[in-house]
């Protein structure tokens, strides 16, 4: 929508009294009104400039919003209703050239910088976008009386995971949506368990509540898209009595760009992006999908990562190719991988300095995933710390070689793990007694490098009991801007 009449030929000046340069150039503005066709728009005071008649009240800032005014003074030359040229701040020679008035501002200095437009003050672009923009938010409005506490209201409505959530006001949601170029109305997936088509706007609302910054939104969107893929089987991951929840592993340049943590305490608290991206995904599942503990979420015990679990791989000084590269993406691509994971189990070996020893040592912990006598049924995510990776780097072991050695260390004789063996009724079916069994199905062990520089710890994160094509398989999607 144009704010300039189609047949207008002349100039538009946008000023504000609060700007020293705008006040300085008042004589030049007056000269222009006499010598040319000029509209003067004042952003903060329609009585300014006093010497100029018919100043247009621009306090609503619609023209400033529609013409993308960032600086005052701005002078725009208009030809047949269309912008032909623009100057910002006071540059005497350029103003003279644009207006064809060689003596314009004869008593003014050659140059004086402008000030910020009122339309770009903090929070204003979002308010103006909502007021004048074509983007209209579709979500239902929930009114909260002035005497009511918004935070308590949100708890009472069941919108929270138990922790306080940020009130999703129109202004905040619009600001969040500025984090993506995608349309708020785009449906990015059908969210289980209620199988509800989910718009980007709904994701943005929940991202606000989780505490995300707008620049995190593309990662949240990718995580939601991944969770809605049939092969991830979010419905089952949620409905199970097991411990699982979606874990988001971020690869690629976006991790550094948005300030994610891949170092100290990488699986813990303290980093805003890590903490809020995973939480936003879980809030989408809770609020849009209707998945709530005690409802479709039937976890017997659950685990604290179900509030949200997201971290980045430590790629910069890694000796191995990243998880995303292993899964077919390039190092320049940003991706989100979803893994249906349970809790974190430490693997602490303080003595192994040989790759052969450390591999077998890590295998000891990996064998306990889900249960020490269940093989081939439950995936795992192995987080190798820098100090552990150093052992493989010093020995020149590639990731492929490590995987090969690990597979061997994770293969056992069936008779050792069949039901009843070792006095334990749980275990593999008796007909597998003469087979050699692998702990993980092909593709069922993810390996990433992350953590602080000191500490000979690695971590094993158990997958869902229902891992594999009939249940959940890890999925990786590209993060779009």
């Amino acid at each position: 929508m144009s704010v300039i009449a189609k047949d207008y030929n002349g100039f538009i000046a946008v000023l504000k009294r609060d700007c020293a340069t705008c006040r300085l150039i008042e004589p030049a503005i007056l000269e222009l009104t006499r010598a040319t066709q000029l509209q003067v728009h004042s952003q903060d005071d329609p009585s300014f400039p006093e010497s100029v008649a018919d100043v247009i009240d621009e306090r609503e800032l619609e023209l400033s919003y529609r013409l993308d005014i960032e600086v005052v003074p701005t002078l725009i030359r208009v030809h047949d209703g269309k912008e032909a040229a623009r100057l910002t701040g006071w540059q005497r020679d350029e103003w003279r050239q644009l207006t064809n008035l060689p003596a314009l501002g004869a008593n003014l200095p050659e140059f004086s910088p402008g000030c910020g437009s009122k339309s770009v003050e903090p929070g204003m672009p979002e308010r103006l976008a909502f007021k004048f923009g074509e983007t209209q938010l579709q979500a239902r409005r929930v009114e909260v009386a002035s005497q009511q506490d918004k935070y308590e209201q949100m708890y009472e409505r069941g919108w929270s995971d138990g922790l306080p959530v940020v009130p999703p006001t129109e202004q905040r949601v619009l600001k969040m949506l500025a984090g993506t170029t995608r349309s708020p109305a785009e449906i990015i997936g059908v969210v289980p368990p209620d199988n509800v088509p989910c718009t980007i706007e709904k994701v943005a609302i929940n991202a606000v509540m989780a505490g995300c910054k707008p620049e995190y939104l593309p990662v949240v969107l990718a995580a939601v898209e991944a969770a809605c893929l049939d092969e991830f089987c979010m419905h089952g991951v949620l409905a199970t009595t097991y411990f699982s929840g979606p874990i988001v592993i971020v690869n690629g340049p976006i991790a550094e760009k948005i300030g994610m943590n891949w170092g100290h305490n990488v699986l813990g608290q303290g980093n805003r992006a890590n903490s809020t991206i995973g939480r936003a995904l879980q809030l989408v599942i809770r609020n849009v999908g209707g998945g709530r503990p005690g409802g479709v979420d039937r976890a017997t015990l659950g685990q604290p990562g179900k509030v949200g679990f997201c971290f980045a791989e430590r790629e910069r000084d890694s000796y191995w190719e990243s998880l995303a590269v292993e899964r077919g993406f390039s190092v320049d691509e940003s991706t989100a991988t979803l893994f249906a994971g349970g809790g974190v189990h430490p693997s602490g070996d303080q003595k192994s300095r040989r790759p052969e020893s450390l591999t077998r040592s890590l295998a000891l912990t990996l064998r306990t995933v889900r249960h020490g006598k269940i093989y081939g049924a439950t995936d795992a995510l192995l987080v190798v710390s820098p100090e552990n990776m150093r052992v493989f780097r010093d020995a020149g072991w590639s990731k492929a070689r490590f995987r090969h050695a690990l597979d061997a260390a994770l293969t056992v004789e069936g008779h050792d793990v069949i039901a009843g063996a070792d006095g334990v009724d749980e275990g593999m079916p008796a007909h597998l007694a003469q087979k050699r069994l692998s702990k993980f199905r092909p593709g069922g062990l993810l390996i990433v490098h992350a953590g602080g520089g000191a500490g000979m710890w690695s971590a094993v994160i158990t997958g869902w009991a229902g891992s594999g094509p009939k249940g959940s398989v890890p999925v990786t999607v590209a993060i779009k801007s």
Partner: protein, 91 residues
């Protein structure tokens, strides 16, 4: 007054109460649904035998996998063929 954007699906489903439990199984056909979890079949074997002793007609069904909701076709088949469902969750 302030205004918040609703983060939910905005579905306001009309609550649908479950049908009353039948007082008797006479003249009713019972669906025995195995969700494909271990030992669900053992439980249903016993139920099938007991129902047979009571003279109650029953039919066996199973979901392809416990991880997903039952396919629409299976649900339709059960509704078409039976009056009552007993599901073995096996957990």
């Amino acid at each position: 007054m302030s205004s918040l954007l609703d983060p939910t699906s905005e579905l306001q489903p009309v609550r649908r109460d479950a049908l009353p439990r039948p007082r008797s199984l006479s003249d009713k056909r019972v669906a025995l649904l195995d969700i494909s979890k271990p030992r669900g079949d053992v439980f249903l074997d016993h139920l099938e035998a007991r129902l047979g002793e009571m003279g109650v007609d029953s039919r066996r069904y199973s979901k392809p996998t416990f991880t997903r909701v039952a396919p629409v076709d299976l649900k339709h088949q059960i509704v078409s063929e039976c009056d009552v469902v007993i599901e073995a969750l096996a957990d």
